[in-house]
């Protein structure tokens, strides 16, 4: 191939790449709040929307965000594209709204499990068991919630950051458990939350979340070790909570 025709071919490849990338939902730069509001106002008891939600969660959970598009979701949900557009502004809006809904469901379970428990240590265990059971119930939903937010655009990243911050808020209560004069700030909770989230991500990604009873003590160890100390946290590893 001559230099000129090679350059022409490279230019063509560039244009093809731009067309392809142009349709990526993650590239959207529109404001998150406006889009979420639109969808929230359209939410309600709509069986077709429920089918879209179920199809999206399942398909994104199976193949990741990059592997889905509106056409295949509509096909799986047996709804028209027009109905999809009535429910959601676009694919990213659909993903973010449903992620918020699934996350809300998980948080409600965790809150209910912690209700009435005052001791930090009890609350950590109750939250861990509730979250683990929720993730174990549906492997695709667990991947949708935990794995797919990585690499699905800035809105998804914000959701992921919110999840970890919420874990950090929860763990930060451990400061009251620290013996002695050792200074502990919010940054310890952030490290522990990052460690807990990373472990959950790895387990969900590898499909081993179904054996949650094996690694829940590991999560509790990571959550409590910075506050209770090495020895007390190691004792958590001997507990078999879900059996």
């Amino acid at each position: 191939m001559s230099g000129r025709s090679r350059r022409r071919a490279l230019r063509r490849r560039h244009r093809r790449g731009r067309r392809h990338n142009g349709g990526r939902p993650g590239d959207s730069t529109r404001g998150e709040l406006g889009k979420a509001d639109v969808s929230a106002s359209r939410r309600g008891s709509d069986p077709a929307r429920e089918r879209i939600a179920a199809a999206t969660v399942e398909m994104v959970g199976e193949g990741g965000f990059a592997a889905v598009d509106i056409a295949t979701i509509c096909e799986r949900a047996q709804v028209s594209r027009a109905h999809f557009v009535r429910c959601f502004a676009d694919l990213e809006d659909c993903f973010l709204c449903l992620h918020d809904e699934v996350m809300g469901e998980l948080c409600a379970r965790v809150d209910a499990a912690c209700d009435g428990r005052r001791a930090w240590h009890d609350r950590i265990w109750a939250a861990g068991v509730a979250a683990m059971r929720y993730l174990q119930e549906d492997a695709a939903r667990a991947r949708f919630l935990v794995v797919s937010v990585n690499g699905a655009g800035s809105g998804a990243q914000e959701r992921r950051d919110r999840i970890v911050q919420r874990i950090a808020d929860f763990l930060d209560g451990g400061r009251g458990e620290v013996d002695g004069e050792r200074p502990v700030s919010r940054c310890t909770a952030e490290i522990a939350a990052g460690a807990v989230y990373g472990t959950i991500l790895t387990k969900v990604q590898s499909g081993s979340v179904e054996r949650g009873e094996e690694f829940l003590p590991e999560l509790i160890y990571l959550a409590t070790m910075p506050y209770l100390g090495a020895r007390a946290a190691e004792d958590e590893l001997l507990v078999q909570p879900l059996r």
């Binding site: 490279l10 560039h14 690499g151 050792r182 490290i191 990373g198 910075p226 190691e234």
Partner: protein, 235 residues
């Protein structure tokens, strides 16, 4: 400053680092020109991605910032992702060289970890664009980039795992402990980078050390190492 002592942080301004070779006919070997263009594109990618994020960085912008033609971009990379991954690999390799150079394997393990964390934080502060590329954007740029991020965490784990020799009950510790701790430390830095708030990062070293060392040497010994690090920083 470890990082500067090694001379790995380039003190030239960005425009100097991105300046292109003389135009027109010259006697500079073709391989050198090609290598120089590649380096400029990788540097431009790191800077742009840090400033605008992966999604909003385009091939046109990379080429324009690196002062190369679009066709030159495609001579080196098939697409934006490939260029991003090359920039990521190059940055991780450079950081690995710094760690290998500055961590003295003859030192006690606690000191090696303390030095490693101090070096890590200095690198983040000195090279914020690269740090953002490796720690923030690698988690936003798709499946392959995320896999590289996870492999980066795994690379740091063996050094940390050596600490198990200091804990007589190490057999009880979870297999994934080291990757989890490194992930937790990265998350803390990630949050600071996203907020554009890395000025106080080195002040977090004592608490980071405390969490990192506790599983291996216990909280009392970890607190001693954290205090020593704080005293060094104050000095």
């Amino acid at each position: 400053m470890f990082w500067y002592r090694l001379g790995m942080a380039d003190s030239r301004s960005l425009s100097e680092r991105l300046s292109k070779l003389p135009p027109g006919r010259h006697l500079i070997p073709r391989d050198f020109v090609s290598q120089n263009q590649r380096e400029r594109m990788l540097l431009a990618t790191a800077e742009l991605v840090a400033e605008r994020g992966y999604q909003k960085t385009t091939i046109e912008l990379i080429a324009k910032t690196a002062k190369v033609a679009l066709v030159t971009f495609y001579e080196h990379f098939a697409n934006k992702e490939e260029c991003f991954l090359a920039a990521l690999d190059e940055s991780v390799a450079a950081a690995g060289e710094v760690f290998a150079e500055l961590i003295d394997e003859e030192q006690p393990w606690v000191e090696q970890i303390s030095t490693g964390l101090e070096v890590f934080l200095e690198m983040v502060v000195a090279e914020q664009a690269r740090a953002k590329l490796c720690i923030v954007e690698s988690q936003a740029a798709g499946g392959e980039a995320l896999a590289r991020y996870q492999s980066m965490l795994e690379k740091a784990a063996p050094k940390l795992r050596e600490g198990r020799e200091l804990n007589p009950r190490a057999a009880r510790l979870p297999d994934g402990l080291e990757v989890a701790i490194v992930g937790g430390l990265m998350w803390l830095v990630h949050q600071r980078l996203v907020a554009g708030n890395v000025d106080d990062l080195k002040g977090l070293l004592p608490e980071m050390l405390q969490v990192t060392l506790t599983p291996y040497v216990g909280e009392v010994e970890a607190a001693r190492a954290a205090e020593a690090a704080q005293a060094r920083a104050a000095a």
